[in-house]
C-alpha cells in the first residue's frame, strides 16, 4: 500500500487536469468534483496513516519525531498542499472561489498560512540552536573516545556535557525572552573549576524571533477557529479547505513540539481535530502519542521532542554521572559500557550532522511553497473582485 500512494498522487493530478479540460457543463463537473474531493480526503488519510504505522512496525524505520520522520512529514505536507491547490484552483472560475462561505474560509486559511510562515522561521532558527548543541556533544565524544580514559579527558567531557545540559534547560526557559545587548556572561575566572566556563552565551540573539512572539500562541490562534464544515458545505469546497487547515495546524504543532523555538510554554496538547472523520484518525493518533510525550517532558523542562535531542539528553546525563564518579584508571567493565554510550552519542551526532541541514532546507521549501500558494490565492481572489465590480 505505501508504494502506491506516490503513484496515485501523480496520476491523480494528471487525471484532474484532463478531466477539467474535458468536461464542459457545470452539471457533469459536479460529480467529478465530488470524486476529486473524496480522493483528496482519502489520500490525506493514507499519508498520515503511513506515517503512523511506520513508527510502530519496523524499528529500523525512522522513529517518531526523529529527523528522518520529520522530513517525511514535511514531504507529506508538500504533497497535500499540491493536491489541495489542484482540487481547489485548477480549472476553476475565480468567482466560485470568492463567494460565500469561501470568502470567509479562504482568508482564514491564508491567515493560518502566514502564521505557519513565522513558525517555519522560528523552527529554522531553532535548528541552528540544535546544531549548536550537537557541537557540544561532539566535544564530549572527542574527549571520551581516545584511550586511555583519563581524568583530563573526563573533565573535558564533563565541561562540554554540563554546557550541553544547561543549554538545553535554557532553551526552553529562555526561549521567549529576547535578551538585550546586556548579557551576563558567566565566565568564571580561576577558582570555579566546576562551573561552565567560556563558550559564550547559551542562546544567541540571532536565534530569537520578534519580541513577544510565541509559537504556542500562534498555534493556538491557528487552531481556535478550526471548525469542520457541516451539511451541504461538507461536500463542497469548504471541505478541502478545512482538511488543508487541519493538516497545516498538525504539522506546525509537531514542528514546534519537536524543535526548540521561541516560546513554547503553554503549547496546548489538545488540538480540535474531528474525531468522527476517518481521514483525521491517523493524525489524531499521532498527535495523542506526541502529546503524551510532551506532557511527560514538560514537567522536567526538557528541550523538545526531537528524538535525537532526547537521546542526547539521556546519554549525556549518563555520561555526566559517570564523569562525576570517575577516577583514573577506572574499572574496565564500566569503561566498556561507557564506550558504548560514547559510540551511541557519536552516532547521534553523525545523524544530526547529516540530517539537520536537509531538514532546514525542507522547512525552507515549505516556507516558499506556502508563500507562493498564498500569492496565487490572493491573486485569484483579487481577480474575482475585479470581475464582479462594475467597470468604470
Amino acid at each position: 500500500m505505501p508504494a502506491t500512494t506516490e503513484n496515485n498522487q501523480g496520476s491523480f493530478l494528471g487525471r484532474i487536469s484532463i478531466r477539467r479540460n474535458q468536461v464542459m457543463s457545470m452539471d457533469g463537473s459536479h460529480d467529478q468534483e465530488l470524486e476529486d474531493l473524496e480522493l483528496f480526503q482519502k489520500h490525506v488519510g493514507d499519508r498520515f496513516s503511513e506515517l503512523l504505522s511506520s513508527t510502530t512496525d519496523d524499528p529500523s524505520n525512522d522513529a517518531l519525531l526523529s529527523i528522518g520522520w520529520l522530513r517525511r512529514l514535511l514531504d507529506e505536507l508538500l504533497c497535500c498542499e499540491a493536491e489541495f491547490k489542484a482540487v481547489v484552483m485548477m480549472g476553476r472560475d475565480p468567482s466560485q472561489i470568492a463567494k460565500p462561505p469561501l470568502d470567509r474560509l479562504l482568508p482564514e486559511l491564508l491567515d493560518r498560512v502566514v502564521k505557519s510562515l513565522d513558525i517555519c522561521n522560528a523552527v529554522t532558527l531553532g535548528i541552528d540552536a540544535v546544531r549548536n548543541l550537537q557541537r557540544l556533544a561532539e566535544i564530549a565524544v572527542a574527549a571520551l573516545e581516545p584511550r586511555p580514559m583519563g581524568d583530563g579527558q573526563v573533565r573535558r567531557a564533563k565541561k562540554a556535557l554540563n554546557s550541553l545540559v544547561a543549554a538545553m534547560m535554557h532553551e526552553d526557559r529562555d526561549c521567549g525572552s529576547s535578551k538585550g545587548t546586556e548579557r551576563s556572561r558567566s565566565f568564571g575566572r580561576r577558582g570555579n573549576a566546576n562551573k561552565d566556563r567560556g563558550g559564550g552565551t547559551f542562546r544567541s540573539l540571532s536565534w530569537t524571533m520578534a519580541r513577544n512572539w510565541s509559537a504556542a500562541k500562534q498555534i493556538h490562534a491557528m487552531s481556535s477557529n478550526l471548525a469542520a464544515p457541516r451539511g451541504a458545505e461538507a461536500t463542497g469546497l469548504p471541505s478541502p479547505i478545512y482538511i488543508m487547515s487541519t493538516v497545516l495546524v498538525f504539522v506546525m504543532w509537531t514542528l514546534a513540539a519537536a524543535i526548540p523555538c521561541q516560546e513554547r510554554n503553554g503549547l496546548g496538547t489538545h488540538l480540535p481535530f474531528p474525531r468522527q472523520l476517518s481521514w483525521a484518525q491517523p493524525m489524531i493518533s499521532l498527535q495523542e502519542k506526541m502529546a503524551e510525550e510532551w506532557k511527560k517532558k514538560e514537567k522536567k523542562g526538557s528541550v523538545g521532542l526531537l528524538e535525537e535531542m532526547q537521546k542526547i539528553e539521556k546519554v549525556g546525563q549518563l555520561l555526566i554521572d559517570f564523569a562525576e564518579s570517575f577516577q583514573f584508571p577506572g574499572e574496565s567493565e564500566r569503561l566498556e559500557e561507557i564506550r558504548g554510550h560514547v559510540e551511541e552519542l557519536a552516532d547521534i551526532c553523525r545523524k544530526m550532522d547529516e540530517g539537520l541541514e536537509p531538514l532546514q532546507l525542507q522547512i525552507r521549501e515549505v516556507f516558499h511553497r506556502l508563500v507562493r500558494t498564498r500569492s496565487e490565492f490572493l491573486h485569484v481572489l483579487d481577480q474575482a473582485v475585479k470581475l464582479s465590480a462594475p467597470t468604470v
Binding site: L136, G152, S178, G199, S206, R211
Partner: protein, 618 residues
C-alpha cells in the same frame, strides 16, 4: 652516579620548596623553576628514560599549578607549556605500553586539559575585550524622495524633488571595506592559541568559543543598525510609513553587513584559522548564517505584502541593494558550504523581481481603473495626471534596473507597431520606454472617460487640453524626453492643440455666428442688427461667466488660448460693428473692442465672474 642524582634531587626539592613559598616574587619563582628544569635536564642525560620523563612531567605540573594561582598570567606563558607537554607526549607515545606509560599519558592529558581550559578562557577574554566598533552614522543616507502616494486631494505634486537613495552610502562603504573587527595587535595571540589548541586536538572547543563570540559581535551590529526582528504577520499589517523607514534601514544594513562587516569577518577567520584548511570557511558560515537569514526573511516579508504603487520605489531600492552586494556575496558564501544562504539570496532576488513586475502592472491597472465619479472642478489638470507623470519621472531614475526587469511581455501589441515609426534611438525603444508609453496611453484613456463627465463639450476639450499639455511639459522638462522621443512629443503637442481648436469651435462658433450677415446684401434691417448685437452680447456674457470659471493652469497655454480666441473674436466683432456702424445704436453695443480684449484675458483664470453692464464709455 647515584650520589649525584640524589644531590640533584635534593637541590630540586629545595628549589621547589622555595618556589612554592608565598613570599617569593613571581619572577623569582620563575627563575627557581627554570633552574629546576635545568637540573633535571642534567640528570636526564645520565638517567633512565622513564624516570626523567616522569620528573619532567611533575615539573610541568607544578609549573601549571603555580601559574594557576596567579591571576595575572597571560596566555603566552601557557602557550610555552603546551609545546613542552606536546613534546613529552610524543616521547610517551614511543614508550612501551605498560601501566606506567598509561599513567604518564593520563597525567599529561590532565595537565593539558587545565592548560587548554585556561587558553579557552583567554580566548574569550581577548575576543570580547578587543572588539572594534565602527561608526555607521556616516553611512547614513539621505533620501529626499517624497512618497508618491496617490490622494485625490493632492494639491500640487509639481516639481517635487525626486532623488534616489543617495549614492553617499556606497562611497563611504568603499572606505570601510577593510575594517578590522578585532584589534590587529591581538591577532597573533589568537593565532598562537589556535595553533596550540588545534595541535592538541582541542579544535572543537576553539571553534565553539570563536563562533559564539563572533556571532554575538555580529548580533550587536544588528542592534546598532536598528534592525528589529518582526514577525511576518506583523509586517503584513504594518502601515506604510513605518514599513518605509524599516526598508531604508534594511538597505543600509544589507550593504554594510555584506560589503563591510562580513568581508572583514571572513578575513579575520582566515587570518586566525587559515592554516587549518577549510575550517575557517566553516566557522565563517556558522557565524554569519542566522543573521543573514534574518535579513533575507525581512526582504521576503516586504515582497509578500500588497502591491501598492508607492511600494515600487522601495522594491527597486531593495533590488538594487541586492545587486550591489552580489559580488561580495558571491565571494563570502561558497556554494558548497553555504548552499542554504546562496539559495536564499537567489530566492529573494527572484521574488523581489516578480513583485516589482506585478507591482508595475498593478500600477498600470490602478490608472486604468481609477474611478471617475464626479467631474474635476474647473477642467484643470487632474491629480491623477500629476501623480502619474511625477511617478514615472521618478521611475526613470531606476532606468537601468527597470529595463532589465520590465520586459516587452508587459506591453501589448499596439505599441510594438508604433516602434517601427520611432527613430532609431535605443532609449526610446527600450522595454522601459515602451512600458512608459503604455502607461501614458492608459492615462489618456482614463482621462477621456473623466472628460465625459462634463456636460459641456467645450469643457471636455479644455480638460483634455490641459492634461495632455501637462504631460507634454513634464516630458519635455525632464529625463522622460529621452524615453518618449520626438515623435511622441510631436504627436501629443498636436493633440492638445487639436483639443484647443475643438474647444474654440464648440464654444465660439455659435457666438461668432451672430456677427455674420446671412446675405451679402447691404440692406440689413436695423431690427436684425439690433437683435444680432444683443444676442452677441448675451452670448458673450454667458461664455464669459462660464469660462472665467474654467481653469487653464499653465500661464503660457492660457495666454496662447486667449490670444487665439481674441484673434477669432476681435476682428469679427470689429468688422461687424464697423460695417454696420451707421445703423448701430450705442445702446445696443455693450462692449468696445478694447473691453472685449480685456474680458477675454479674464477667461480661464479659474474664478467665475460676471459682466455688469458698465457704461463707462466715452
Amino acid at each position: 652516579m647515584e650520589e649525584d642524582q640524589h644531590m640533584v634531587s635534593a637541590a630540586q626539592h629545595i628549589l621547589k620548596a622555595l618556589a612554592s613559598s608565598k613570599t617569593v616574587s613571581h619572577e623569582m619563582r620563575k627563575t627557581l623553576l627554570d633552574l629546576e628544569i635545568q637540573l633535571s635536564t642534567i640528570n636526564e642525560r645520565k638517567g633512565s628514560g622513564i624516570k626523567q620523563l616522569e620528573r619532567k612531567l611533575k615539573c610541568l605540573e607544578d609549573k601549571v599549578m603555580s601559574l594557576e594561582k596567579n591571576d595575572s598570567v597571560i596566555s603566552s606563558e601557557y602557550l610555552k607549556l603546551v609545546g613542552e607537554i606536546q613534546t613529552l607526549q610524543q616521547k610517551f607515545d614511543s614508550l612501551n605500553e605498560n601501566w606506567k606509560q598509561k599513567e604518564l599519558v593520563q597525567k599529561s592529558n590532565e595537565i593539558l586539559q587545565v592548560v587548554m581550559l585556561r587558553l579557552e578562557e583567554e580566548l574569550v577574554q581577548i575576543l570580547v575585550n578587543h572588539k572594534q566598533y565602527f561608526e555607521v552614522d556616516y553611512m547614513s543616507f539621505n533620501s529626499n524622495r517624497v512618497d508618491l502616494v496617490y490622494d485625490e486631494s493632492f494639491g500640487s505634486v509639481e516639481d517635487e524633488r525626486i532623488n534616489k537613495v543617495s549614492r553617499s552610502i556606497d562611497d563611504s562603504l568603499s572606505e570601510a571595506s577593510n575594517i578590522d573587527l578585532v584589534n590587529p595587535s591581538v591577532v597573533e595571540d589568537l593565532k598562537s592559541i589556535a595553533k596550540a589548541m588545534f595541535g592538541s586536538n582541542y579544535q572543537h572547543e576553539f571553534c565553539h568559543v570563536f563562533i559564539s563570540s563572533r556571532r554575538d559581535a555580529l548580533d550587536e551590529y544588528f542592534v546598532i543598525l536598528e534592525i528589529e526582528r518582526l514577525s511576518i504577520e506583523n509586517m503584513l499589517k504594518m502601515e506604510w510609513q513605518s514599513l518605509n523607514r524599516m526598508i531604508k534601514k534594511w538597505i543600509r544594513a544589507m550593504k554594510f553587513i555584506v560589503q563591510a562587516y562580513l568581508v572583514g569577518e571572513k578575513r579575520l577567520c582566515k587570518q586566525i584559522l587559515g592554516d587549518f584548511g577549510s575550517v575557517y570557511q566553516y566557522c565563517f558560515s556558522e557565524i554569519s548564517r542566522s543573521s543573514v537569514l534574518h535579513l533575507l526573511n525581512f526582504g521576503e516579508a516586504i515582497a509578500m505584502g500588497t502591491h501598492t504603487p508607492e511600494k515600487l520605489f522601495c522594491l527597486l531600492d531593495m533590488y538594487e541593494a541586492l545587486e550591489h552586494v552580489a559580488v561580495d556575496k558571491d565571494f563570502l558564501f561558497i556554494e558548497e558550504i553555504d548552499s542554504f544562504v546562496t539559495r536564499e539570496f537567489h530566492n529573494l532576488q527572484r521574488f523581489i523581481v516578480e513583485t516589482i513586475k506585478s507591482t508595475f502592472l498593478s500600477f498600470r491597472n490602478a490608472i486604468a481603473t481609477n474611478p471617475s465619479k464626479k467631474c474635476f472642478p474647473c477642467g484643470g489638470v487632474h491629480p491623477l495626471t500629476k501623480y502619474v507623470m511625477n511617478y514615472i519621472n521618478a521611475l526613470v531614475e531606476y532606468g537601468d534596473s527597470l529595463n532589465l526587469l520590465v520586459d516587452e511581455t508587459l506591453t501589448d501589441q499596439s505599441d510594438s507597431n508604433d516602434e517601427n515609426n520611432y527613430e532609431n534611438s535605443t532609449v526610446s525603444c527600450s522595454p522601459l520606454a515602451c512600458n512608459l508609453r503604455l502607461i501614458t496611453t492608459t492615462l489618456e484613456s482614463n482621462l477621456c472617460n473623466k472628460s465625459k463627465l462634463y456636460n459641456d463639450v467645450a469643457l471636455q476639450h479644455i480638460f483634455m487640453m490641459n492634461n495632455i499639455h501637462y504631460m507634454v511639459q513634464k516630458v519635455k522638462s525632464s529625463n522622460l524626453c529621452n524615453f518618449f522621443g520626438d515623435l511622441w512629443l510631436r504627436r501629443h503637442v498636436g493633440m492638445f492643440q487639436h483639443y484647443a481648436r475643438s474647444y474654440e469651435k464648440v464654444s465660439w462658433s455659435s457666438v461668432l455666428s451672430f456677427l455674420r450677415d446671412e446675405s451679402l446684401s447691404t440692406c440689413v434691417t436695423e431690427r436684425k442688427i439690433k437683435k444680432k448685437c444683443k444676442d452677441f452680447s448675451a452670448a458673450f456674457g454667458e461664455v464669459y461667466k462660464t469660462q472665467t470659471g474654467w481653469s487653464v493652469p499653465d500661464k503660457e497655454l492660457r495666454e496662447d488660448l486667449q490670444i487665439s480666441v481674441s484673434q477669432k473674436v476681435i476682428p469679427a466683432y470689429r468688422s461687424y460693428t464697423g460695417r454696420h456702424s451707421s445703423k448701430i445704436d450705442e445702446k445696443w453695443i455693450k462692449y468696445t473692442v478694447d473691453d472685449l480684449q480685456c474680458y477675454i484675458l479674464d477667461l480661464f483664470q479659474g474664478s467665475s465672474k460676471s459682466l455688469h453692464h458698465s457704461h463707462h464709455r466715452k
